[in-house]
Structures are given as structure tokens and as C-alpha cells.
Symmetry: C2
Subunit: 341 residues, 2 copies
């Protein structure tokens, strides 16, 4: 069984291995700097079916199906799917998995969901109750815009701090039944809400940066490691504004300098000059698609050895924002290792 190191970080004993990972994205994401890394590109905003929401579910379903088949498994081999998304009542995930006949743990962590699902799948494997699980999530520009902001047809102007919701999904297949050397999850860290009173829904990076700061700082302290021990400290979707803030916060409050190893999925996924996304990418599908492709494939090939992935989420709804509530930040941490050393 796993054990707690320090305050909150859990060092896993089973070290769940990553046997397959799949990223399915839209056209804009294919046109970005990581375009070649993604597994499947679905074209058009209406990727499938008759609504944006059904398209999002189709994208997520496609990722999960391919992860299961890439691992050489069948639906009946999977003990559980851990999934959630940004849509009201998580319909993206629920309708994506409805035909699989696999037990579902529905999660909600806003844009931190990919890390949250990896944590809960890992702990479920660690418990002995599950052998093989799927962690998955998705987001879609058009479903997010019309739910959280304005109908697309309205054509509202976006301020420079706003981020662009990634149309993308990721699915990771975790198992303990695997002898081959594969990337694995070494430790996990469930995050705690940070509320600094940010109320600007067009500046999610600022709301999430304090949560990322706390999780990174706590993780490094708990594990007695330092930034240079990692090939990468990878945040989910802080974007340009939030990433700058995170680095400043860590330096000032904790005397930790992550400048040399920090990357952010929201910065990496789009070309800031060519793709007009203002402060970068966001959404559950942002870190899900980057981690399921570039990161896990890089760990598998030996390009990377040790990555701390910290996905951030902005916990709010249109109702809470209209009622003047602040945007709560949370950040969940997952430490991937390559299994090659």
C-alpha cells in the first residue's frame, strides 16, 4: 500500500503503469506547435453528430476506445473509468462512456480533471480493488463558449487575459498487470482549494496560479526534491498570465525558482503569434491532450525521465460569478517517471 510522505503527497507502492495514452483534438490544435504529436484529428467544429455537446462526447469516446484497443484490451478488461469535464452535470463524459459497460466514477475538477482522474485511478489500483483503469477528460471550444460565456454567434470580444478553450480529449490506460518497463505514476497529491478573491472570469490564470504554487511547493517539500530533479514541472493551463504569476509567487513566497523547468500546456498547445488565442489555451482537454501525447510518449521514448504534472482548475459557474462569488483555484499533482532508469 502507498504511504503518505510529508503532509499530503502519497508515494504509490503499486506504481500504476501507463500502457496506452491517446489524444484526440480538433483542427486548431493540429495547427499548433504540438500538432504532429496528437493521435487523431477530428475536423470541423461539429466533429460528429448534431450538436457541439455530442461532438465533445464523440471525441472523448474515440480517445477511450483507442486507448483500450492500443493496449490490446477489451472493454471487459477495464475495471473503471474516471472521467469528468466542464459541461453542466458532466454530460460530456457521461454520454461518452454510456455504451462501454464499464463502471464509472464521475469527477469534477474543472481544468484540473486530468490530474484528478489520474490520482483517483491510481489510488483505486493501489487499493487492490482495481487492476486496470482509464483516466480521461475532454473540453470543446464551442460547448464551453456557449455555456460559460456567450453564444458563438454573438461574437463577443475577448480581453487579452482570456484563454482559448482547447477542443481536445485525452485518455490514459493505467494498469498494474504489466511486466514491461513503461512510464508509471510514482506519487500523487490531491490539491486544496485556494481562494484569493479573484472574480474576473476572463482571468482564470490569476485565479489558478496560487493553487499551483501551493501544490508545487508542498510536493517539493513533502518529497524533499528540488526543481532541477525534474525534466519538467508542467502546469495545466495557466497560460501566459498565470504562468508568470506562478513563477513570481514561488520565488517570493517559497524561494523556489522553477524558471528553467517550467512548462505550461496552455502555452505549448497554440502558437501565440499565429493563432490569436490571447493568454493561451485552457479547458480540461488542454492538459489532457498534451499529457496523453507529447508528455507520455516522451516518457515512453526516454526523451523525459521525471515530470511533475500539476493541473489547475478554476472552480466556478456562471451562477456563482453572477452572484459575485470569487473563482476558487485548485491544483492536483501527479509525478510521472519513465521507468527506463
Amino acid at each position: 500500500m502507498g504511504y503518505r510522505q510529508g503532509e499530503k503527497t502519497i508515494i504509490l507502492n503499486e506504481k500504476p503503469k501507463i500502457k496506452a495514452s491517446v489524444a484526440v483534438v480538433g483542427e486548431k490544435e493540429q495547427q499548433g506547435p504540438l500538432g504532429e504529436k496528437f493521435d487523431i484529428i477530428l475536423t470541423g467544429e461539429m466533429l460528429k453528430d448534431k450538436s457541439f455537446e455530442q461532438s465533445e462526447s464523440f471525441m472523448l469516446k474515440t480517445a477511450i476506445k483507442k486507448a483500450i484497443s492500443d493496449a490490446g484490451l477489451e472493454n471487459s478488461d477495464i475495471d473503471g473509468i474516471f472521467s469528468g469535464d466542464l459541461l453542466n452535470q458532466c454530460i460530456g463524459s457521461n454520454f461518452a462512456v454510456r455504451e462501454f459497460g464499464i463502471p464509472l466514477c464521475g469527477l469534477y475538477g474543472a481544468c484540473s480533471t486530468m490530474a484528478l482522474s489520474l490520482i483517483m485511478a491510481s489510488l483505486s489500483i493501489e487499493s487492490g480493488g482495481f487492476n486496470t483503469c482509464i483516466s480521461a477528460t475532454s473540453s470543446h471550444f464551442c460547448t464551453a463558449e456557449r455555456q460559460f460565456r456567450k453564444p458563438l454567434e454573438y461574437g463577443g470580444q475577448r480581453p487579452p487575459t482570456a484563454q482559448w478553450t482547447v477542443t481536445g480529449s485525452g485518455a490514459v490506460l493505467l494498469t498494474k498487470n504489466e511486466a514491461a518497463p513503461l512510464p508509471y505514476i510514482d506519487s500523487v497529491h490531491l490539491g486544496t482549494i485556494q481562494d484569493l478573491g479573484i472574480t474576473d472570469a476572463n482571468n482564470m490564470g490569476a485565479a489558478m496560479a496560487p493553487a499551483a504554487r501551493k501544490t508545487i511547493s508542498d510536493f517539493l517539500r513533502d518529497t524533499k526534491t528540488k526543481p532541477s530533479d525534474y525534466d519538467m514541472i508542467l502546469t495545466g493551463d495557466l497560460g501566459f498570465v498565470g504562468s508568470t504569476l506562478l513563477k513570481n509567487l514561488l520565488l517570493k513566497q517559497d524561494d523556489i525558482d522553477i524558471t528553467n523547468v517550467h512548462k505550461d500546456c496552455g502555452i505549448m498547445i497554440y502558437d501565440p503569434k499565429e493563432q490569436d488565442v490571447h493568454a493561451g489555451g485552457s479547458g480540461c482537454g488542454c492538459s489532457a491532450s498534451v499529457v496523453s501525447s507529447y508528455i507520455l510518449k516522451g516518457l515512453n521514448s526516454g526523451e523525459f525521465d521525471n515530470i511533475l504534472f500539476v493541473a489547475t482548475g478554476a472552480l466556478m459557474s456562471t451562477t456563482s460569478s453572477l452572484q459575485g462569488e470569487s473563482i476558487l483555484g485548485i491544483a492536483h499533482g501527479v509525478n510521472f517517471k519513465s521507468g527506463k532508469k
Copy 2:
């Protein structure tokens, strides 16, 4: 570590003990048949603060705070909170826990959330990563009505199959650090989506009954037990329509007769003649408040010894319903034992 028995049921090794459980409800719930069992009654629809949503969070926060203090613990003793609710982006839970400084696993299982949170807290304790956790959830009549149906002021008429969303919350404190004989969780069963094509959002019971049938049938088969082994097979909120359907389905499809031991939280919580709730109570807070009071206190006093709790959820949103999608059913199972025998 736990082990899988049969297809999906997980027999826990750690048998997490229930050290405290608290139900906080509204006035209508106090006036029902279980009124005296609840711990705290908050009066008025606007229980606190300036909105229904903030009132719901306040109710959930009150339940969690009291569970921690009843157990003689402090916030820093709690390794994680597992919580979700019916509101868009689970703002009920997120704002309830924001000040606790406790790691949060956000969940979404519609009205099955209490069982889902007990399962995930149990597996996290079983993993060795957590010692003491809170499982919690809530619902509020006024937040649910205006989000899922119509503004309250509209005064829409409710059909006979409609259920009444419970204004209530429940919090259960689970721990493995306890020598005293206390009720515990013996086994858990993560549910699988069942989709029988029901599209009537005013008949949730019918959408959820097939999922309850599957979980109960699978659980009894996996554990080689029969209905008479239990003091109660307790469903979450099928109400009158769904409960009748469940009993018929189990009898016809599985040759299992649960008539003598079946109870439903949605039927128990209101007086069907006096309280005008049509098909019964519903909402995450329905089974949460009944389990956290009547059920767990009855297990603690020795009134009950062995209860199979199967909470059902209807996975849908107003968007999915408007797009003509069916209502997906899911049911998660938790087996409580008294620890007295």
C-alpha cells in the same frame, strides 16, 4: 488490500469505520416521518446568505464541520473531502469546503453522489494513502428547481411522476484509526451506466430503476448473498414509481424478490399524504441525509446490522434533455455493517 469478489464488487480489507455522521436539512424535511432523526434543521428557504446556492453551501459546510467536531477531530486531521452535488460545476460543494484547507476530490454522480463519495473515500483509505476522510453531498429544492426546471416564481405544475428535491445534506467521517466497535463499510460496488432510452425528465425513477436493478443483482451474485441476509436493501431516491419498477425488474429479470427488505430514502423522507411531493423525494441530499442520520445511527445503536445502500443517479443536463438525449441511469452500492456482531 481489498480484493475483487465476482465481477465488480470490492471487499474492503481495512473496513473503514464511520466515526461520525451528520444530516442537516430544511423545514419540510423536519416535518416528514424522519424529522426527529436529523441533526440540525435550518429554517426558511434562504437558509443563510443572500442566495439559494449560498444557502446550499452553508448547509453542506455545517454538516461537514459538525462531523469533524463530533469525531473530536480538527480540519488538519482530515486527509480528504469527497464531495459533489447537482449544481452546475458542483458549486454547492466547492464553496462549502473552500475555507477548510482540506484536499478535495470533486465528484459528480447526480443523486448517486453519496454512495460514490463513500466508495471513493473507502478506496482511498484502502490504498493506504489516506487515514481519515469525509464523504459529503447536498441538494436544495430551490437551487434544483431553478436550474433544472423553472424559476420558482413561474409556479409550474408538477406531474404525478415528478419527485421533490430534498433540501438536505449529509457528511460521513470515515477512518481506519479507530479501535472502538463502530459501523463500517464492508464492501463497495462502482456502478455502470444503464440507458433504456427514457427521455422524460419528470420521471427520473423510471430512468434510474434499471441501474439499481443491475447493481443489486450484480452485488448479490458477486457476494453470494440473498435479500434476506440484509436488514434493508436501501435505494437512494427511486420514489414510488421507480421503486415499484425496481422490484418488478428484479423479480422478472433476475428472479430476486426484495419486497420484504426494500426501502427507498425518497419514499421515507416525506409523508406521501400530508406533504404533497407526488412520487417522493429526490436529490443528492435525499439519501445523504437519510443515510447520515436514520441509517448510520441505527447501525450504531444495533437497530440494524447489515444494510446494502444503493444510491441511484440520473445523468443528464437541461442541454442534453433539450437535445433529445435519453436520461442515463447509474447506481453505486455500499454495504454497511454494524460492527456489533
